[in-house]
């Protein structure tokens, strides 16, 4: 090894000599691993649902071509039914939908699954929401809780699974900022930033908009994005 090579090796080793895997780092690994597992479950469920649809279509086609008469005893369409104690189950919650009327320059579309979940695609376009795998902690007393949003190809903001992005790597700061009718929460990423990058959140009762991927985007652009969100349902 010559002088330059030795100096380079020395500089590289010295630069990371004080780098240690902290408990927070290991917790971040566990959180990501859990997210990967959930993602696998979502994909399997989506594949199963798609297979079921195909089976139904194929089955219906076979029945029609076979000229089999429809069964007169076919059950009526499903309606909400009372449980044993007489209570009617509540209808599925309708999640509010938003449109982003403006996106920061330079950011591409998101990968969004059929159920609104964010689907990372290593070969596809990355998005400003790619770091949305992070989410706020949901321990008691820590705002905000609710549904996270992603942005679709068309700029529409829709919520993925509320549980999908949960991790304990984030800690909301006390600071809140009102922008329009919405409240912005600032959170700090322990796992990745060491406190250098401040992520921002947007919340209103029942929903939370994740704009974590905007780290590095000028604050005025984040504000412009938030101010431009339009609730459409």
């Amino acid at each position: 090894m010559n002088e330059t090579e030795a100096a380079v090796a020395d500089a590289l080793r010295a630069h990371v000599a004080d780098v240690e895997a902290s408990p927070e780092f290991l917790a971040g690994v566990a959180a990501r691993e859990a997210a990967h597992r959930r993602q696998s479950v979502v994909r399997l469920a989506a594949a199963a649902a798609a297979a079921a649809v195909v089976a139904l279509v194929v089955g219906a086609t076979v029945v029609t071509r076979g000229a089999a008469p429809p069964s007169p005893a076919a059950p009526p369409a499903a309606t909400p039914t009372a449980t044993a104690d007489g209570a009617v189950p509540p209808p599925p919650a309708v999640r509010p939908r938003y449109e982003a009327t403006w996106l920061p320059p330079g950011f591409g579309p998101a990968q969004v699954g059929t159920d609104g979940e964010w689907v990372p695609d290593e070969r596809g376009p990355r998005t400003w929401l790619e770091t949305a795998r992070y989410a706020p902690p949901t321990r008691p007393g820590e705002p905000p809780r609710g549904v996270l949003f992603v942005v679709t190809m068309s700029g529409e903001v829709i919520p993925p699974s509320a549980d999908y992005y949960r991790t304990e790597a984030f800690e909301p700061q006390a600071k809140q900022v009102r922008i329009g009718s919405l409240t912005v929460w600032r959170v700090r990423d322990h796992s990745a930033s060491g406190g250098l990058i401040v992520y921002q959140w947007l919340a209103e009762p029942g929903v939370v908009v994740d704009v974590t991927g905007m780290a590095g985007v000028p604050d005025r652009d984040v504000r412009r994005f938030i101010a431009g969100l339009r609730r459409v349902s």
């Binding site: 590289l12 080793r13 895997a21 320059p105």
Partner: protein, 168 residues
């Protein structure tokens, strides 16, 4: 009858591996990314992917497997960053080093130069002189030829040699 060890996806063994190798992988990630925050991010993601692979089959050499995942993630990150607005670093992390042997200035200068190298050249330097891989091993990790590794090494060292000579 005994189970074949390599096919047993043992999560406890994975956790033990992480505890033993996390710091080494994190250091490598920091050097590849040129940034501690990004390095931490890359190392976490690499370990999560190793865990996913671990569930299917325990890698023969977990560190080598994780290192390859990490190098690929670092490459993907560089490509992604080219499509994003440039982020201004809060701190380059290379300043203010205290060094009892008086090499702090040289190290800081070298690290700045390393940070300016093209991603492939930096990866070659880190794998060759930090991970102590041979040219053949480095080529295997990067998925290129040995001659390509030699070329990248020579070019990178050529740029850094001036810094060393100026300091000397």
């Amino acid at each position: 009858m005994t189970a074949e060890p390599a096919l047993v996806a043992d999560h406890a063994a994975f956790e033990e591996y992480v505890r033993g190798d996390a710091t080494a992988l994190l250091r490598l990630a920091v050097l590849l990314a040129g940034d501690r925050d990004a390095g931490s991010d890359l190392a976490q993601e690499a370990l999560a992917r190793v865990a996913r692979a671990w569930r299917r089959r325990v890698p023969d050499d977990p560190h080598a497997f994780a290192r390859t995942v990490l190098v690929n993630l670092a490459r993907d990150r560089r490509r992604m960053l080219r499509r994003r607005p440039k982020q201004v670093p809060f701190d380059d992390g290379y300043a203010g080093t205290t060094d009892p042997f008086g090499n702090a200035d040289l190290r800081a200068s070298l690290l700045r130069e390393v940070a300016r190298l093209p991603a492939r050249q930096r990866a070659v330097l880190v794998l060759r002189f930090y991970e102590d891989l041979s040219e053949r091993e480095t080529a295997a990790v990067l998925g290129c030829s040995v001659s390509s590794v030699k070329t990248h090494t020579q070019r990178a060292l050529g740029r850094l040699r001036e810094t060393v000579e100026e300091a000397g």
